[in-house]
C-alpha cells in the first residue's frame, strides 16, 4: 500500500527552484533514503511535505488524504512527523519532559503520557538520562532525543533529516541500530535524508537522489551506487575517467 505520494512537487524561492517537479511514492513499511549533494533541495522537500513551506505546485498525499499546504501541527496530527537537521531540543526541559510534549498529542492524561514517554526514553537508550536537562546531552544523545520525541507522537511515517550528521562512526552505527529497532517495534515507514553513505546504504530499501532540485534516480542502494548520474553529481563529471 502506498503511504505517501509526492506528486509533481515544485517549491521556489524567488527565482531559485529549490524543488523541481519531484514525484515519488513511499510504500507502507518501506525505508526510503533521500540523498544528494549540498543544496540539492532535500531539506526543502522535507519542509514542503511536513508543512513548514507551502509548495507552489504539486500535491502531497499521505495515507489517502491530501496534506499539501497543511500546517505542521495538523500534518503531525495525521501521523506524519519530522525531525530536524539541526536538532531542536527543548533545552531547558529534561529528557523525559521533552518526550512528554510529543506524547501529549494522543493523550491528555498526565499519568498515561508519563509512562508512555518513559517507555520511549528507555527504548532509545536515554533511560539513565531521563531527568537530565536536554541541554546537557551530547550530540548523539540529542539525536536520540529527537527520535524519541517524534516517536512519541505515534506516527505512521517519520521523516528523518540527517540524524547522523556530526556523529562519530560508532555513534552513527548505534543510531542505525536504534532506527532499525524503531522500524521493527513500531511498524513505521521512514523517509531518511542522510549524508553518511554507509549508513543510508545499509538502512534503506530504496534510495532517491536529488540534484539541483530534480529527482535524478530512485532505485535500490546497489543500483544507485553504480549509477553514472549519481556518481557525477557527487564527484564531478570526470570521475569515471579518473577511476580507470
Amino acid at each position: 500500500m502506498t503511504l505517501l505520494t509526492i506528486d509533481h512537487l515544485t517549491k521556489r524561492f524567488g527565482g531559485l527552484i529549490a524543488v523541481d517537479d519531484v514525484s515519488f511514492e513511499i510504500e507502507q513499511g518501506e525505508v526510503l533514503g533521500l540523498i544528494g549533494p549540498n543544496g540539492a533541495g532535500k531539506t526543502t522537500l522535507f519542509n514542503s511535505v511536513a508543512g513548514t513551506y507551502i509548495p507552489e505546485e504539486g500535491q502531497v498525499i499521505f495515507n489517502g488524504a491530501a496534506i499539501t499546504g497543511l500546517a505542521a501541527h495538523d500534518v503531525c496530527q495525521l501521523g506524519l512527523v519530522r525531525t530536524f537537521q539541526i536538532v531542536k531540543p527543548f533545552a531547558a526541559l529534561n529528557v523525559l519532559d521533552n518526550v512528554k510534549v510529543g506524547a501529549y498529542l494522543r493523550n491528555n492524561n498526565s499519568q498515561i503520557t508519563e509512562s508512555k514517554a518513559r517507555d520511549i526514553v528507555d527504548f532509545v537508550g536515554l533511560g539513565d538520562l531521563a531527568h537530565q536537562p536536554a541541554k546537557n546531552l551530547t550530540t548523539a544523545g540529542r539525536k536520540r532525543l529527537e527520535l524519541a520525541r517524534a516517536l512519541a507522537t505515534e506516527p505512521k511515517l517519520m521523516l528523518l533529516d540527517e540524524v547522523m550528521a556530526g556523529l562519530t562512526p560508532t555513534e552513527s552505527q548505534q543510531i542505525v541500530t536504534v532506527i532499525e529497532q524503531i522500524k521493527e517495534e513500531y511498524h513505521l515507514t521512514l523517509l531518511v535524508i542522510e549524508h553518511v553513505m554507509q549508513a543510508i546504504m545499509s538502512l534503506s530499501d530504496r534510495i532517491a537522489v536529488l540534484h539541483h532540485g530534480q529527482l535524478i534516480a530512485i532505485d535500490t542502494p546497489q543500483a544507485i551506487a553504480a549509477d553514472k548520474a549519481v556518481i557525477e553529481a557527487y564527484l564531478g563529471k570526470e570521475f569515471q575517467f579518473a577511476d580507470n
Partner: protein, 346 residues
Amino acid sequence: MTISRDYQILAGLTLVFAILPLFANQFQLTLLITLLYWAYLGTAWNIMGGYAGQFSFGHSAFFGIGAYTSTVLFLNYGISPWLGMFVGAGFAALFGAAMGFLTFRFGVKGHFFALATFAFAEMSRLIAQDSDFINSTIGLTMPIIGGDSWSQMIFEDTKLYYYIVILGMLIVATMISIWIYRNKLGYYLLAIREDEDAAAALGVDTLRYKIIAVAISAAITAIGGSFFAQRFGFIDPALVFGVSISIAVLLRPIFGGSGAIWGPLVGAIFLTPMEEFTKIFVRNPPEFLSFMKGRAGFDVLLFGVIIIIVVIYMPDGLVGSIPQWLERLRRRLRGQSQSATQEAAR
C-alpha cells in the same frame, strides 16, 4: 517532582502566611499584603511571559481593564466587585486573546511582540484618558462607607481582611499555575517557549496555545486590577494603565525566576522588603548620605540596577541561578580537593 509535592509546598506556604499576621503589626501587615499582591500579579505574568515565553511589556492593559470594569460596574450599577472582577477578567481575556491573535497571526515575535504589547497598553491608557464615561483623566473614587463590608470588598477598619482576600487570590492563582505547569497545557507552553518550530512539528497548535496563555494571564491580572481598585479606593488611567504597572508586574518573576512555579513568589519575598527598606532609607538616610533625604526615585533606580544585574548575571532568576551557583561551588570545592589529593599523591 510530582504533582502532590507542589501542592504540599503550597499548603506549607499557606500555613506560614496564615500564621504570619498573628505576629505582624499594622505596618508589617501592609508589607505582607503588598508582597502577596505582587506575587499574585507576577504569577499571572509568569504564565504568559515565563511558561509560554511570550514576553509581555504591556500587562497594565489587562490590569487597567480589570480595575475599571469592576469599579464602573460597582459605582454605576451597584454590582458587587466580587462579581465585577470576573466580568473584568472576561473582558481582559477577550482583549488579550484579540491582541494575541493579531500579533501571533502575523508572526510578531520576540522583542517586536514585547513592543506590540507595550503599544497596546499605551493605547488603552490613551483611550481611557480620553473616555468621558469613565471620567477621563480625573479617575474614579470608591465611596467611603465608614466601616468594613465583605459584599462590597471595602475594608476601612480591618486591614487583615484585605490580607485574607489577597492570600486567597494568590493561592488560587498558584493552584492554576501549578495545574498548568504539570499538565498538557504547561508542557505545550514550555515547548513553544523553547522552540516553536519543534513544538509545531510535534503537533502543537502554537497559535492556539499562545492565545490561551495570554487569555489566562490577562484574566488573572485583571482580577488583580480589581483588587487594587478596591484596596486603594481610587483609580485613574495613568495609575492603572501606566507603564510602571507593566514593569512592576514583570519584575518579580524575572528576579525570582521566570518560567518557574515559585519564581514570582520568591521574587516578591526578596524585592518587597527591599523596596520598603529603600523607602525608609530615603526618608531617613544616614548622616553621610543626608543629601538623599526625601529624594524620590531611589527605589525605582534600584529596580533598574536589579534588572541589569539579573539580565547579565542571572538570566534564570534566583530560582534558576541558585542551584547553578551551588553546583559551581560544589564543583570548585571538589576540584580543589582533587588537586589537593593529587598534590598529596606526588
